[in-house]
Amino acid sequence: MAVSVAPKAPAATAKVNRRSKGGGMAIAQRRAGLLFVTPYILFFLLLQLAAFAFAIWVSFHHYDLLALDNPFVGLRNYTRLTVNEDFLIALRNTTEYAVVVVILQTAFALLLAVLLNSKIKGRNFFRTTWYTPSVASSVVISMIFLYVYHPTGLLNSILGLVGIHTTEAYLQSTTWALPAIMFLNVWTTAPTFMLMFLAALQDIPKEIYEASSVDGASAARKLFSITIPLLRPIIFLVVSLGIIGAFQIFDQAFIMTKGGPLKATLTVALLIYDNLFVDTGAVGVACAEAIVLGIIIFALTLISRRVIDTKIEY
């Protein structure tokens, strides 16, 4: 599996080099190495780690973007989150969104990959067209879907062709707005994960399938007993990347619904934005929310690793 093996190999060679060749060469190499990583390390320290540390500090203060004095308030920003109705709504929406999107996009991506991995006609055509949504910017996709979901838009026109006549305004409906964004996201993200699955599928040794054919296994049996178990590491990767992305859902909701109608699509990241920019006095609250969100994502990633990425033996 290309993804998991790649980082290990260079490290091993480096070690060998250092021991076998002496003196100046190794130091020069190390210097060159440091030089190459310095821009990223600086970028990381300044824009990620420093900002992250600052956010933790801010989360313990009553922080107003425009005020000069920002008093320390201890854990108040955190404790108030437990009774903050908006935060609880946002958390519920985001969780609901993440559960549906991660399950659907993983299943959908796997399905597409398996289809592409079989010898169907026009494979390259499908590969290109299916991947197209992932290439476009999410902002562009969101704008396009504003027209798709419009009461007289594409979706309702298509429904009209099959005899379902409706002028439902999906993005203005408390029932449909969140599912509409879920669908859009599954559609745009699944192809990226499809590529990962496809790469992994091609790594599975043919011999195993051949052996199972000899034993008379059906196609479904092969999928569930060979393909999926052997894909576990990549499934873990896809699920955890999916969880991370889904919990950070922002741009689609920001562009398409602004969190409405009636907070039906209010997500945690959207709420953080609102607290940060719309409500200047709530920067501390926004940082507390961001850190809680970070902890949730971190914890879920660890759990999914536990559940999915277990060793299997044949």
């Binding site: 956010a55 999916g242 109608p261 961001a290 969100l293």
Partner: protein
């Protein structure tokens, strides 16, 4: 999934830290003659509308032609104007001159981020008496004047003349007329009226019914009393009871004016911005307007105004003031009036033929006498969110009037008490 990274949000906060030092103090300058004032100023305007944006550009070029020693750089902010200015202020990097919306005024002035214009007004010969008094008050706080009104807009009722004529109806003169006309004109996918779930429309009804959004000392939200309930019951009755109104997006429109232009709604309550919009986008639709008829308690309309103001940190106070003076002056406002975008905030333009000769513009200008400025202090975004949610939940049938308003008042009060 290119969603907003956690880091991005944090980096935005981090920028506050990075831009710790900043803004030197006013180098007042000794110039006492307009022609001697020098300097470069950055001027930010909300540029959501391309036509308006290019007009601002033209006025700024005219200004530089008149004051060749002052250079103006236009900074156009197409969307999220206040958010952008707020971030720039927190990084001490805001423009010298900027549009001051009531929202901007409400967060920037109490934090001392806007320049008090009073001393500069007397220095450069600008008198508060030149402006309509109700338009000056939104920019005042503890005796200081933080911006000058550049124009204003208010609400009237626009009606589709051909649809009215085809149905044999006269221009309405009362709410009873409007209600029966709305019923008559509702046919198929066309509604008689389009009332949005928007406090910027509903509050005209609220005030007309004698209600208030905030208590007189502005410390409490009070828009759930019986007057407010009556107002919202009436506002929602068109859609819920008569089925003669619908939300613009349900009519396939982005805003009520769009529904009006597409002839999906025969009447809308909008402001002067509808006139150039109809002219540019739907020139074939013939329409008329009336002032909002008297509500049960009083006549009412909402007043929306924007001003030009200066950053408290600007190094070129005199140049900035001259710019504000010019942009709110007679020359510019007369052109704004002729372009049809907004109404002049100056008394001396009240008798301009562009107003007196156009009945729609005259209705708008005259409505200012009984209109209320739509601004609710530092927490207004939360207060308006709460109101909008209440209106929306009633119009979507998710809640009854009383419980929707009670809940909204509770939300607004928690914002007012710093929750």
């Amino acid at each position: 999934m290119r969603s907003m990274r956690l880091g991005l949000a944090l980096a935005a906060v981090g920028s506050v830290l990075l831009a710790a030092c900043g803004g030197g103090n006013n180098a007042g300058g000794g110039a006492t003659n307009e022609a001697d004032v020098t300097g470069t100023i950055r001027a930010a305007n909300w540029g959501g509308n391309p036509t308006e944006n290019s007009l601002v550009k033209k006025y700024e070029a005219d200004f530089m032609a008149k004051y060749p020693k002052i250079k103006v750089t236009q900074e156009e902010i197409p969307d999220h104007f206040e958010d952008k200015i707020k971030t720039e202020m927190s990084a001490n990097n805001e423009p010298d001159a900027m549009y001051v919306s009531t929202a901007l005024m409400n967060f920037a002035a109490p934090n001392g981020r806007l320049l008090d214009l009073n001393p500069l007004m007397s220095k450069w010969g600008v008198s508060a008496d030149e402006f309509i008094p109700t338009l000056m008050t939104p920019w005042q706080l503890s005796g200081k004047q933080y911006a000058l009104p550049k124009d204003f807009g208010d609400l009237v009722l626009f009606y589709n003349k051909s649809m009215f004529t085809a149905a044999g109806l006269q221009a309405p003169t009362s709410w009873d007329d409007i209600r029966s006309a709305a019923k008559t004109l509702t046919k198929g996918s066309v509604k008689g009226l389009s009332l949005p779930a928007d406090a910027a429309r509903f509050d005209a009804f609220l005030f007309g019914y004698g209600g208030q959004v905030l208590s007189s000392d502005k410390t409490k939200a009070v828009f759930n009393d019986s007057k407010a309930q009556d107002a919202l019951t009436f506002y929602s009755s068109f859609q819920l009871q008569d089925k003669s109104s619908d939300l613009p997006d349900k009519l396939g429109a982005t805003w009520p004016g769009d529904a009006f232009g597409k002839q999906k709604a025969a009447m809308v309550i909008e402001g002067g911005w509808l006139i150039p919009y109809m002219h540019d986008t739907y020139p074939s639709v013939s329409y008329g307007s009336i002032k909002l008829p008297k509500f049960p308690v009083k006549e009412s309309s909402l007043l929306f105004t924007n001003g030009w103001g200066c950053s408290a940190k600007t190094k070129n106070q005199d140049a900035c003031m001259l710019f504000v003076k010019y942009m709110t002056g007679k020359v510019v406002q007369q052109q704004v009036l002729q372009s049809g975008f907004a109404l002049p905030s100056r008394k001396d333009l009240g008798t301009d033929p562009a107003i007196t000769a156009n009945p729609d513009v005259k209705n708008l200008f005259d409505s200012a006498t009984f209109a209320t400025a739509w601004t609710f202090g530092p927490h207004e975004s939360k207060i308006n969110d709460a109101q909008n949610n209440a209106i929306q939940s009633v119009l979507l049938g998710k809640s009854d009037v009383k419980s929707a308003l009670d809940k909204a008042v509770q939300e607004a009060n928690s914002a007012l008490s710093g929750g």
